[in-house]
Symmetry: C2
Subunit: 143 residues, 2 copies
DNA sequence: GTGATTGCAAATTTTTTGCAAGATA
DNA sequence: TATCTTGCAAAAAATTTGCAATCAC
């Protein structure tokens, strides 16, 4: 879409085809590790290099288009949804699912407003609900 | 201490000197990446290998003595404090600090009790307060 | 004694870098 | 055109593996 291009430019970045491809892949995936993006983006843009993918993702983070996601395996994850939302994290599969519950975020934000954490400049709240999905995708083997 | 040995054995593991060294290092550090543990443990046990450190940490995780910490850089972190607590995460320095606020955890736990998340077996809640520490350690350069 | 654990070295996986060529605003 | 961005290949960083020697129980 055209508005992807605009978003990228609004971040002060040049809207190259590579960036557009990565961004729209991220929109599709929601949150993904660098190589999940790589796998997926190759479908539409086979010539993209890993190095470029990392470059692009890094530029997105700097521009605030995307946010680094936390994980407990040793991979960097990225997330396009910059609105506030929590995550369900499947610890067996290392996968994320958005958990969209404005009430939860609001609750915590309100609570923290009353506390003043000394010497800390709070910019973000990240809530992960850790567990496992019952059945469903359990047949997919961890590689 | 003697009770480190007991804790390790209580987890069904053999209390080897390496494990004792790693565990007491973790107690000292609170939470640390594998190579932070490595750096630190070498002081007291110089012959320890990286491979062993990873083995030991992995065995601790399996035994429930230690918990994998979430991070947004590409490193695995580990945490000995298995009681529930939130974390302050300094995004510039990639460091953690315990944020010990039982009220916060309780608040969220209570809230989620009322919700039933479909198909999800919730085992843990992880709250990260992301930001930067004002001054203080800012002079330490990121490597 | 026996099975679990260590340590080595080498392999894998993930991320980063330097730099020349190319594309964007 | 001037600057930013890409792509390559190679390096660095982080984690894992196979296997023989060793140790804890």
């Amino acid at each position: 879409m055209q508005n992807i291009k605009e978003k990228i430019q609004k971040g002060g970045l040049k809207a190259t085809p590579q960036r557009i491809a990565v961004y729209s892949t991220l929109l599709k995936l929601g949150h993904a590790s660098a190589d999940m993006v790589g796998e997926e983006v190759k479908e539409v843009f086979p010539s993209l290099t890993v190095a470029t993918i990392y470059n692009v993702l890094e530029s997105f983070v700097r521009a605030g288009l995307v946010v680094r996601r936390f994980s407990s395996n040793n991979k960097m994850y990225f997330d396009v949804n910059t609105y506030e939302h929590a995550h369900l994290y499947d610890k067996d599969m290392n996968t994320y699912l958005d958990y969209d519950d404005p009430g939860l975020i609001r609750l915590v934000t309100e609570y923290l407003k009353s506390k003043e954490i000394p010497d800390f400049n709070l910019t973000d709240i990240d809530i992960q609900l850790i567990g496992t999905f019952k059945e469903r995708q359990q047949h997919i083997l961890k590689k």
